[in-house]
């Protein structure tokens, strides 16, 4: 285990070291202490390193992650794991807005609550939120799965494309073109798989499924009030 104390070493140096971590097994496991809300911690990783961050982080922690497994033992600022491509990012606390924004792959787990616009513009990532998710979550979500174990805020899934949204509690309201869909056995089993990958124990039977009504896929005069 390599320990980097961010009180003594800047983010730039930390990220440089993480990017250059070698295949040597001793370089694959890292502990980061004193993050104190710094931005872009562990952003742009490309290797299967394991990183544990002890404390709260600022914006874009683990941004564009590829292959790495990053655990944040604290809360995080805007855009955690934004544009994640692969690997696993786990937030033990709460995540601020735009968590997993435009993520293309991999898994983001937020054990606490997520702020607004969680999974905005997502493109293939799987996101599991243990608690609640804020308003406009799943906005323009294109593909992938967004699982919210608690309640979801207003305008859930506004303008959603082909992403699938599961909610264990209830959404305050649905956004434009987002509708409730049948929870088929196939979806139930997918959800079970997502929850088990996320390590979150909750009964999948509680969940409802939401997705696109596909009415905004083509401009049409009779849907003008939704544009």
């Amino acid at each position: 285990m390599n320990t980097v104390d961010l009180a003594a070493t800047g983010v730039r140096e930390l990220n440089r070291r993480l990017r250059h971590a070698s295949d040597d097994p001793s370089a694959l496991s890292w502990l980061v202490t004193n993050p104190k809300g710094a931005h872009a911690i562990a952003a742009g990783l490309t290797r299967p390193v394991r990183i544990q961050i002890d404390g709260h982080v600022g914006y874009y922690c683990a941004g564009m992650n590829q292959a790495a497994a990053v655990t944040i033992d604290g809360h995080c600022g805007t855009g955690v794991a934004e544009n994640i491509m692969s690997g696993l990012v786990r937030v033990r606390g709460n995540a601020s807005q735009s968590a997993g924004a435009s993520g293309h792959g991999g898994l983001l787990v937020i054990e606490g609550n997520a702020g607004p616009r969680c999974g905005i513009s997502m493109k293939g990532v799987d996101i599991v939120v243990g608690g609640k998710a804020g308003h406009m979550s799943g906005f323009m979500a294109q593909s992938g799965n967004l699982v919210v174990c608690g309640d979801a805020g207003h305008d859930l899934g506004d303008s959603v494309y082909e992403a699938v949204i599961y909610v264990g509690g209830s959404p305050a309201s649905l956004g434009a073109d987002c509708v409730e869909k049948d929870m088929t056995p196939k979806h139930r089993s997918r959800l079970r798989g997502l929850l088990s990958r996320a390590g979150i124990e909750i009964d999948p039977e509680r969940f409802r499924r939401f997705g696109s009504a596909r009415k905004l896929y083509h401009f049409h005069v009779d849907h003008a009030d939704a544009y």
């Binding site: 983010v11 730039r12 990220n15 440089r16 990017r19 931005h39 872009a40 952003a43 742009g44 490309t46 600022g58 914006y59 874009y60 941004g63 564009m64 590829q66 805007t78 855009g79 934004e82 544009n83 491509m85 735009s98 924004a101 435009s102 293309h104 616009r117 905005i120 513009s121 493109k123 293939g124 906005f139 323009m140 294109q142 593909s143 303008s159 494309y161 082909e162 905004l216 896929y217 083509h218 401009f219 049409h220 005069v221 003008a224």
Partner: protein
Amino acid sequence: MGAVDSGRLRPSHTFPAHVLAEIHRAADEGVYEIRGFGTKRPLPGFDDLVFLGASMSRYPLEGYRERCDTGVTLGTRFASKPVHLKIPITIAGMSFGALGANAKEAIGRACTAMGTSSTTGDGGMTEEERQSSETLVYQVLPSRYGMNPDDLRRSDAIEIVVGQGAKPGGGGVLLGQKITERVARMRDLPEGIDQRSACRHPDWTGPDDLAIKIQELREITGWEKPIYVKIGASRPTYDAALAVKAGADVIVLDGMQGGTAATQDVFIENVGIPTLPALRQAVEALQALDVHREVQLIVSGGIRSGADVAKALALGADAVSIGSAAMVALGCNKAVHVEDYQAIGTEPGYCHHCHTGRCPVGVTTQDPELEARLRPEQGARWLRNYLTAMVLELQTIARANGKSHVLNLEPEDLAALTVEAAAMAGIPLAGTDWIPGRG
């Protein structure tokens, strides 16, 4: 009934033919018009300025014999690997999806031959364009279609798009007929749908966030790449200053004349300010912060000739960028395949139908048959010739004004032909020392 006396047929100034036709269309369809190309209405522009040339007090340089350099370096502020261009004319971001792969490849080849840069667009980077372009600028757009850290790292510069001159405050539109299987795959969208891309970035809003976003992109790319911030011309005084504050290396300013592949006509014609005043305001903002030339300024929107480039540089730009004019060099609006222009309801010279995906000359289409009309080698040759001619024009003007480098052109070399242009560009009206608004 006798023949109508044509002298009695008085057209309405308020309702000319194109306005009548648009009302009829809106009544039929119930939706705004979406189209390509840029503004069509008359606007104050570079044509309203002239160079003074040399005289007793300024010596000209000899054409062909005395050097007039054209090289520029972009991204000297924070990036460890700035971009060096041989000419100050770059090709603007035009998405794969809007353009076909052949057009993209032709642009890449021409830019490489000329020693300048091309730019990706809303839809990600294609292998063809990375291979054909020696210097490639990678756009980070609100939609984040195809956004990929590997492409970010193999780019030569990064351009964060805040806005575009054709639609400051608007997101992209790509109509279903252009979302082919490949385009859909690159964007993670279903095939054939009308795609409305976002107008705001998903993970930041405002200049304070932008500073942190720029920091993240620098971390991901090892602080090597110049970071450009592209803004549509709306409030350049503030936007340029805020981009500087956020840590941009380069500002790309796109005036209202800027082209587009598909935008609401009402947006193209009515939102934003022309390139001329926007350029002056941005330069003044950079000067006020004492970073003019340290943060480079690339200007676009209606640049067509070496004279336009020279005027933009004289007003304080470090380089220009062209979109529409590059398409025209590739054959856009050329009088060939006339029946195919007619099939989409237009004629050569009037076409703005990029949104249809039925481009008669194979530039803005994904249709294999139409696309085959633009061979990449031929397109590259045309664009290269056009860029060469522009550079020669630019040098001709610079030498005539006694400049051994095109970046030495200055506002003092210019005069304005109209009161409007004088006020907007901050250049005295020809034959006077009067700049409206300045006493």
